[in-house]
């Protein structure tokens, strides 16, 4: 651990806080996105869907599909676990996460509007389901 890297330490602190309020202890500090995933996001090859999962924009390569499948399997497992402790259904939890994930997209990244159409995020708020917080 590099104590001099204050930005990194702040990130760890926020992660720990989030873990604490979520009722989970001893969660490893938040990891960063895989470079391939970060690149696919930035290039608009993948985007956030309202159902809480990652989608491929257009026709992706088999490598991209495998990466997206892997991320979505991990997301689903996470949603299932968290939904159980929150007394909610998997779909409810995933949908809520989808609302937030779309809200957190950065300008230039892709997201799916309620109509099903892929949109590029701009500086203005994204088009989301009317039930989103």
């Amino acid at each position: 651990m590099a104590k001099t890297d204050r930005k990194w330490m702040r990130g760890v602190l926020y992660g720990a806080l989030a873990a604490l309020s979520a009722g989970a202890l001893a969660v490893p500090a938040m990891a960063q996105r895989d470079p391939a995933y970060a690149q696919a996001r930035a290039q608009g090859k993948v985007g956030e869907k309202p159902d809480g999962y990652l989608g491929i924009v257009g026709s992706g390569s088999s490598g991209l599909r495998a990466m997206v499948d892997d991320i979505n399997i991990r997301r689903r497992a996470l949603y299932a676990e968290k939904a159980k402790s929150a007394n909610a259904t998997l779909q409810e939890y995933a949908f809520t996460a989808g609302c937030l994930a779309i809200a957190r997209t950065k300008p230039g990244e892709k997201y799916q509007a309620p109509s099903g159409e892929w949109k590029t995020r701009t500086s203005s708020p994204p088009e989301r389901d009317s039930r989103c917080p």
């Binding site: 989030a18 989970a24 938040m30 991320i71 949603y79 409810e92 937030l100 989103c132 917080p133």
Partner: protein, 81 residues
């Protein structure tokens, strides 16, 4: 006793109008029979398939309740979000 139908026809044809009340009663009975026969409710199957949008069942209040928790989950798992 004449059958109701025949008697009714007789009264209808007799314009001089003998017992109008009885003729009316017979007509009423006939009408009742017809109405009760044709009064069935017919239910037709829709020609289009019934599509159930699962997301519709998710209530806004549930989403608001889960929002904080889900936000924390995303923060704590930044590698897959």
């Amino acid at each position: 006793m004449m059958p109701v139908k025949v008697r009714d026809r007789l009264h209808r044809n007799n314009i001089a109008g003998l017992p109008f009340g009885r003729a009316l009663m017979a007509k009423g009975l006939l009408m009742l029979g017809v109405v009760s026969l044709s009064g069935c409710i017919s239910v037709n199957a829709p020609d289009k398939p019934i599509v159930i949008e699962l997301n519709i069942n998710i209530k806004q209040e549930v989403i608001y309740r889960l929002a904080k928790d889900a936000g924390n989950t995303i923060d704590a798992n930044a590698d897959i979000f």
